[in-house]
């Protein structure tokens, strides 16, 4: 159950979600996400140029890079929204290019824009997406109650989404993404526009999901945030993987940089000079 932190903002105890894990049905998956030689062209422009990485169950993988690096395109391919020009992307052993609907059943996708219908209440949004995921109304009700407790949605579930604050919308959005309890979570800049407390809430929730064995791919501009949260990080630049590893490894690779941001800048400068 959530506890209250400063100014009434909800905070997680890491064990709270682990305790509920027995209620959930997703089997753990060793290599939850596999991307091999992924390439995406928009006309003549290359957005992703032969990208390869993998994410294991119970791991948070950060996809970092400046605007236009190819993060969103990669995540959209994984979410079945775009078709790869070349290469393979698999979600829980399902090829996204060949069977996008089946792959979509195994992932929860969330962006910074929250993707909620303003004129519906939070409960109605969850019922709608639960039905689209193929859940029975009874399962949706049960799962909504469960998530309401975990994400502290009690007061806001029955209000129209347009009347909610950014942080509240993002909590509903998280509930929507994990409603069908997918083994893989893809989060595209989920903390954009959130205040410090809401961002921390989200980070804690993502950490809790990792503890439950979920594979999480997380993209952000905020390198400090990634350093706090990610087990491994892939640095993207112009559609290519510049470097990959644990944050301390990347800092060491860049000549003992003091932060991921500094490491990234050094690596990019080195690449451009080369």
């Amino acid at each position: 159950m959530p506890t209250r932190g400063v100014e009434g903002a909800p905070r997680f105890r890491s064990g709270s979600l682990v305790a509920t894990a027995t209620l959930l049905s997703s089997p753990p998956c060793m290599s939850a996400v596999t991307v091999e030689r992924l390439k995406k062209l928009f006309g003549q422009r290359t957005a992703v140029a032969g990208l390869s990485f993998s994410v294991s169950a119970g791991e948070i993988y950060g996809l970092l890079g400046p605007n236009g690096a190819g993060k969103t395109t990669t995540l959209r391919i994984l979410a079945g929204l775009l078709r790869p020009t070349e290469g393979v992307a698999e979600i829980a052993d399902v090829d996204v290019g060949r069977d996008p609907r089946e792959a979509q059943r195994r992932l929860g996708f969330m962006t910074g824009t929250t993707g909620l219908y303003g004129r519906l209440t939070g409960r109605e949004v969850l019922a709608y997406f639960g039905a689209l995921e193929g859940m029975s109304p009874r399962d949706v009700v049960a799962r909504t109650a469960e998530l309401a407790a975990v994400l502290d949605l009690g007061e806001i579930l029955d209000r129209r989404c347009e009347a909610l604050s950014s942080g509240q919308k993002q909590r509903i959005s998280v509930a929507r993404a994990v409603l069908h309890d997918p083994p893989v979570l893809i989060l595209d800049e989920p903390t954009v526009g959130l205040d410090v407390l809401a961002s921390r809430f989200l980070r804690e929730y993502i950490g809790a999901e990792r503890a439950r064995g979920k594979a999480v791919i997380f993209s952000t501009h905020y390198l400090a945030e990634a350093e706090l949260l990610c087990d491994r990080v892939g640095l993207l630049y112009e559609g290519k993987l510049l470097a990959e590893g644990r944050p301390p490894e990347l800092r060491a690779l860049a000549g003992d940089a003091t932060s991921l941001e500094e490491a990234f800048l050094r690596l990019v400068t080195h690449l451009v000079a080369a």
Partner: protein
Amino acid sequence: MNLPHVGVVFRKELRETLRDRRTLAVMFLFPLVVYPLVSLLMAEVMAGKQATDDARTSHVALVDSDPTTRRALHAHLTAKGGGIDVATEGKGEAEGAHAPAAGGTAAADVLAGTFDAVVEVTHTPAAAAAAPLAVRVIYDETRPASDQANDRVNRALGGVLPRGCFRTYALTGVSLATKSKIGGYVLSKILPLIVVVMTMLGAFYPAIDITAGERERGTLETLLSSPVRRFDLMTGKVLAVGTLALLTGVLNIVSMSLTVAEGARLAAGSPILAIPWPRAAATLVIVVPAAFLFGSVMVAIGAMARSFKEAQTLLMPVYLLCFTPSLVAGMADFRLTGIALIVPGTNLTLLARDLMLGNAHVVPAIVVLASTIGFGALALAFAARLYDSERLLASTDADLVGLGAWLRYLVGRAAPGRPAIAPTAGQAVSLFGVAFILWFFAFTWLQRWRLIPGLMISQWAGFLGLVWIYARLARRPLVDVLVVRRPRGWAILGAGCLGLSGWIILGILADRLMPPPREVVESIRNLIRPPGESRSLALSLFALAVTPAICEEALFRGAILQGLRRQFSLPVSCVLTGILFGIMHGDVWRFIPTALLGTLLSWVALTSGSIVPSMLVHVLNNGVLIVLGYFGLDQAGEKLPLRADMVILAGATMLLVAGLTMVRRGAGSLAR
């Protein structure tokens, strides 16, 4: 007031707003392209309808026991130009081919449609010799032919003045229509149009909200990441929009019926018409397919837009273009036959009218409903395909048409050494828009002033000049824009066959599907061989065959087709170019044949890889028609029986197929 601040804000707002292509579209597209197109379409159709009405003869029965007045009336009614054919009945004697039944059954004659009107004279013994003769005109005001007959009789007899300058005839109109029939007739004039238009409007905003609105609110990406088939998603959306449109349509039928009845009662002080509720209810059958069709079309188009505002800009011309045929059908008394059965909007309006009047037949009604549902299903399939497209997630103008970049390029000057701009669909459409505006506002005026000089200026300086300016702005050689390349021999041979056969097939199809009014045919004949003017055949051929073959091909099969081909598949590019080619000819009766010809010419140009074969097809097509028209041989075909038409059609089809095969054999590659 700080004027410099006002000026700074004014300039910034103007600059920013004028860079919005939606604003530009509303500013220029509507007044300069859409309105002329709509007015042109309406004027053409209404003129054709008027010509048909004028040519119709009113069959009138004359019942008069006095031979003297009967002869006078007969003479007045059948005066030249009146359009009245009179059958008379006196004391037991009948004259004329269609003698009326006894006077007492005049009403039955009119109601059965045997006569359009019956003119009855009542003689009173006490009446002074100089008193006006009492004449009753019995007609049915709810039947257009009967109403027209009444007008004609009134015109023919109302203006007859004897020496004493008082009226010879005291005319009284007696309409046989019951209150219920009048109610049905009044509703048939307004209800179908209102229902179709309001159903369309009912679909308008919901369609935008659930497509472009969803995209704008950022929920689309979330929705598309759900494991749901796009077709299912789109079907659900279309059904929701269709339901709202359906409710709008039903509410309009009920409200309009009540309003008409109550409005007429208030105006007259007593009920002067009655609403035929069963017939009004029967019109509900059109609302369901109409709601599905308009819901599908508007959702499909709304899905192309990235924002609410853009969707409004895209849908408004569609709304106007759907509205116009319905308006024309509502205003004029067209019959629900032939091609009208499958023209969306028009067919529904006419069917609703026939249902209101109780004139609907089962087979035409089934064709109308089935074709409407078919078009709706096509639009739904298109929308679902669009939702499966990555273009839906495009976020910038550059990902779409690139029109903005081209317009900026047009108004700016390219830096030296900048590379040539590749043609785009946006450029093609813009080029057509400019050509259409010039044609509508300048070239038609020039041609009315002096046909041959006006035509030469329009074609050589206008169309070809426009292509030249485009080539200069795009920094491309004119021969490259025009795709002037040496074609293969097979392509030339094939083009020859197509040029000699295409006009026959198109002519016969046009005559069978949508026969133009005689006035239109005559005006084309006058164009080829103007009465009272001695123009040589050579000049006609140069002005009307060679010149369009070069200049129109340069514009349509050169710049426009190339641009469209970069964005669309070969068949779609050909059809779109054909449609634009048909529109530019500005004649609703010739639209289908010219659009088909344009499609064929585009296919020839793309398949052969050169504009030369399409020019050859064009020059032969026009040339043969001019030679036939010049020697008056074109009218010979009009008297041929159907069997002869079929034989000629079969021969021409064989030649056409041979031509298509040869062009394919001589295929080249056109710049893409």
